[in-house]
């Protein structure tokens, strides 16, 4: 199946493409909203500042909303997960997609920020995206802001505070970590997503 990877100039897409390909998909990079409309599934990647999502214009937003409405599988990775929420205090004037309620906040606690490295995820409930992933599996994070571990949270991680590591609403999924950099467990998550497409 054809998976559109949305390019909005927020970081390097090489690893995401490599991971999706290893998971059995045929991903392609696009900035064109029509490609997102036509694709079998959509991945919203991204690293860095929430302000980078400003580059996702109204047309692309509408295409993403339409894909979600039509039940196309969507996966947000890292900043892509945060974009699924109402917004982020990192760029308060920019709205997210609002698929999930709540705003992303700066990680709080007596810890080094950014949160960089391998940390564990704890399941809150079963989800097809986590099928076959061991409890307490380590995955690779690199971020400073995080989404609330509330509605839609299927697995949480605690770093100073609990936050959403994996979210699900209908056919929309998000992972705060980088599955394409998380060894065998990360590849399994990508394969699970591809299997839903």
């Amino acid at each position: 199946m054809r998976i559109a990877v949305v390019d909005y100039r927020a970081g390097n897409l090489t690893s995401v493409l490599k991971g999706l390909t290893a998971a059995g998909a045929s991903p392609f990079v696009t900035e064109d909203a029509r490609d997102v409309e036509d694709a079998d599934a959509v991945v919203v990647p991204g690293v860095g500042h929430f302000a980078a999502t400003r580059a996702i214009g109204d047309t692309m937003r509408a295409a993403l909303a339409s894909a979600i409405e039509r039940g196309r599988p969507v996966l947000g990775v890292c900043l892509g997960l945060q974009f699924l929420f109402d917004g982020s205090e990192e760029a308060p004037d920019l709205p997210g997609l609002g698929v999930l309620p709540g705003r992303c906040v700066l990680l709080r606690g007596d810890m080094k920020v950014p949160h960089v490295g391998w940390n564990t995820i704890a399941r809150r409930r079963e989800s097809p995206i986590l099928a076959g992933v061991r409890e307490g599996a380590y995955v690779y994070f690199t971020h400073s802001y995080a989404a609330p571990a509330g509605e839609g949270c299927v697995a949480a991680t605690t770093y100073g505070m609990p936050f959403a590591a994996v979210v699900e609403r209908g056919r929309v999924f998000g992972v705060q970590f980088h599955p394409e950099k998380s060894g065998e467990d990360g590849l399994r998550i990508l394969r699970n997503f591809v299997a839903l497409c």
């Binding site: 927020a10 970081g11 390097n12 090489t14 690893s15 490599k18 991971g19 290893a22 690293v47 860095g48 500042h49 810890m111 080094k112 920020v113 950014p114 949160h115 960089v116 490295g117 391998w118 940390n119 564990t120 380590y138 690779y140 690199t142 971020h143 770093y159 394409e180 950099k181 998380s182 060894g183 065998e184 990360g186 590849l187």
Partner: protein, 259 residues
């Protein structure tokens, strides 16, 4: 709980892995892609490729090495050595690296760190610092950590703690701190220097130089306050397995990722 990272370093020259003692006497240690493949299955948490004698002539060899190594790797890959410009960084990142490590170029132009962090995010920018105990006469207590550039050959007059702070402000996402005194000696990491830098910055610090025994890793993760520890020869020559090292650390209460 956030795991302490065990990072393997491949010092690469002209496409082959080499490892020296105190930056000299490079001895051949093998094919980088073959080593990367082994590390990926053995449970290493991250891989660093350092092009130790980067010259214009071998740039193509480096790009080829990055592609070959990253093709089989689903853990973070950092590349350093000879990254002097945004174009060099772009070539490494487009080739499959997740992070670039800047050393001499960052010292010469700290704004390069900022430009790269804006373009790729801080998580993609590592500032590598090579430093040694400053034992020169008139340097006072000898507790200052003198920063060297150009593969340890040129004194910069900078102190490692000050430079790490400045690099973090400029936008570095991590500090890779190498003790020139300990490099290749297997006498243990410089825990004092690592702790001094790690306490001074809010970004992760990777300790490098001197790994020889499992106890050295324990020491640098506890007394040295390191977030990650890097070693080359201890892994290359298959003296000790990564899994055995992790089991050793886990037993002693250091959180590590179990593969």
């Amino acid at each position: 709980m956030l795991a302490k990272r065990i990072i393997a370093c491949l010092d690469v020259r002209d496409g082959a892995v080499v490892k020296g003692v105190q930056f000299q006497d490079l001895a051949n240690a093998g094919d980088p892609a073959a080593l990367a493949r082994r590390y990926n299955t053995e449970g290493i948490d991250e891989l660093v490729i350092l092009d130790v004698t980067a010259t214009i002539e071998n740039r193509r060899a480096l790009a080829d090495t990055i592609r070959r190594v990253s093709a089989e790797l689903f853990i973070p890959l950092a590349v350093g050595g000879g990254i002097r410009s945004e174009a060099d960084a772009a070539a490494a990142l487009d080739g499959g690296a997740d992070k670039v490590a800047l050393n001499s170029a960052a010292l010469a132009d700290p704004a390069l760190v900022t430009r790269l962090a804006r373009r790729y995010g801080s998580q993609a920018v590592v500032v590598a610092i090579d430093a040694r105990r400053d034992a020169s006469p008139g340097s006072g207590t000898g507790e200052r950590f003198a920063v060297f550039s150009r593969s340890g050959s040129t004194a910069t007059g900078r102190d490692a703690v000050d430079w790490a702070r400045e690099a973090a402000v400029a936008g570095a996402g991590e500090i890779l701190l190498t003790s020139i005194d300990r490099d290749g000696t297997r006498a243990g990491f410089d825990c004092d220097m690592t702790a001094a830098v790690s306490s001074a910055v809010a970004i992760p610090v990777i300790a490098s130089g001197g790994a020889g025994t499992f106890d050295h890793f324990y020491d640098v993760f506890t007394a040295g306050r390191a977030d990650a520890a890097l070693a080359a020869s201890i892994f290359h020559f298959q003296e000790r397995g990564v899994a055995t090292l992790k089991a050793f650390l886990q037993e002693r209460g250091v959180p590590v990722r179990q593969g």
